[in-house]
Amino acid sequence: MSSTTRLALRLTGLALFLLVWELVGRHLGDALMAPPSAVARELVALAEDDQARATIWQSIAPALVGFAIACAVGMPLGAVMGRSPIWNALLHPWVSTFVVTSVAAIVPILILLIGTGWWFVVAVVVLSSVWYVTLTTYQGAVRIERRWLDVGRSFGASRIRAFRTIMLPALFPYLLAGARIGLTHAIRSMVLAQLFIVSGIGGLLNEAGMDVSTARLLALLVVIMGIGLAASHGLGRVADWLAPWQRGLEPQR
């Protein structure tokens, strides 16, 4: 399939989706499903609304801080688990329990423990994404072969040098994959946490849900979609800049 056909098909898919949505929207009315034309108008209104813009920006900040903490904790943890059977035996049961535990269940007790402030959202984000970062890094660290490290040792490389020139390049694709999965979960749990305490984006969503028209609600969903896509795109750009050699090496889940 040539790239022009490919592009044409993609645009057709998008156009068909918008067309069906528009027709269904007109038929059902704004109260049930606002058509894209109404949503677009609402998007413009949202972009001109300084207060809404400020709220959205303020909501993203704790998600990014939480994501950074999750990476700072999860990546070393995963690497240690992958390289040391003892640490792995000690930590793996807990990590694999927490990764399947819905973070929503932990939310009520977190509210009790740390309240509903800024750090609450950070805590929810960390608790939801750190396990994915850890497990993906672990997958990479387990796959580092003994031979590669032995070569370094035979040439008298120091521990730090062996880490920097052998382990880090081998881990990099996995660190990137872990960061990407972690970021997805960070944004998901940010919305979840804010819906729970009705603040930030969650507050906006809740308020829009009370409207007679669903146009504003759908416009907010489009904004959140944009945040998600922009974040994962941005992460890819940062990775390309940090390690140009790894392009296309990212492992499939």
């Binding site: 035996a89 049961p93 399947v100 535990t101 973070v103 819906l195």
Partner: protein, 250 residues
């Protein structure tokens, strides 16, 4: 020999130590903040003998099964078609990537408009939580089926139906199981999210009732129950996978 058995016992030791730590922190902190493991266990025991907990779990699992089945029935064939047929992939890929980027929880206000606050809405959230996850994994898996396998069948002039039945389906089982496993874990998360954020029900209601009474033993007990359901769901699919995919075993 001694070393390997030592490592084999470490996870057990780790779980015991973790529970011990939980007990210790719970004993040292005031009960309104954090309850010890034993208190959570006693709460669960009490709820089990009065049939409150088994009924809540049963109803939660019913929601789970309905939503998960609905999602899987659509997601697996659609994902398979996207992975094997190029034009289907190109047509659907941009739209589905966009919708997948929206956090499932953000749909809740919209789902309330459509389905209300009760059972239907809960099922809808479960569907949204696990549908895209299964779709993406199935599509990615179906794209990477070794083309040589299909070529062999074609060179023996196998009819299309036989290519699907004898080659494509067995080659797909590993990633189909991955999709089903990850989807099920997400579905469990979906049930809890729905039961907490819509009108409180079942396990979510237990959790919020405990929170309302500052009963941290109850909250931690329910969290532990949720964790166990998640683990059980994952192990069930792993076990099924090992039984069905005998040829994949090392």
């Amino acid at each position: 020999m001694i070393r390997t058995s030592f490592i084999a016992w470490l996870p057990v030791f780790s779980i015991a130590a973790g529970l011990g730590l939980w007990e210790l922190i719970g004993r040292l902190s005031p009960p309104v903040l954090f309850a010890p493991a034993s208190a959570a266990f006693l709460f669960l025991l009490h709820q089990t003998t009065t049939w409150v907990l088994p009924a809540a779990i049963g109803h939660s699992l019913l929601t789970l099964a309905t939503g998960y089945t609905l999602a899987a029935v659509v997601a697996l064939p659609l994902g398979f078609a996207m992975g094997r047929v190029a034009w289907v992939h190109e047509l659907l890929h941009p739209v589905l990537t966009g919708i997948y980027a929206i956090p499932p929880a953000a749909f809740i206000p919209f789902l309330i408009v459509w389905f209300g606050l009760f059972a239907q809405s809960r099922v809808a959230i479960v569907v949204i939580m696990c549908f895209f996850e299964m779709l993406v994994i199935t599509a990615a898996g179906a794209r990477t089926i070794d083309p040589r396998l299909v070529d062999v069948a074609r060179s023996f002039l196998a009819p299309r139906r036989r290519v699907i039945g004898a080659v494509l389906i067995p080659a797909s089982l590993p990633f189909l199981f991955t999709a089903l496993r990850i989807g099920l874990v997400r579905a469990v998360a979906g049930v809890i999210t729905a039961e907490l954020l819509l009108s409180p029900a079942n396990l979510g209601k237990q959790l919020l009732d405990s929170a309302g009474r500052f009963n941290t033993a109850g909250m931690l007990g329910v969290i532990a129950t949720v964790a166990m359901i998640g683990l059980a769901a994952q192990q069930l699919l792993r076990w099924l996978e090992r039984h069905v995919l005998r040829w994949e075993r090392p």
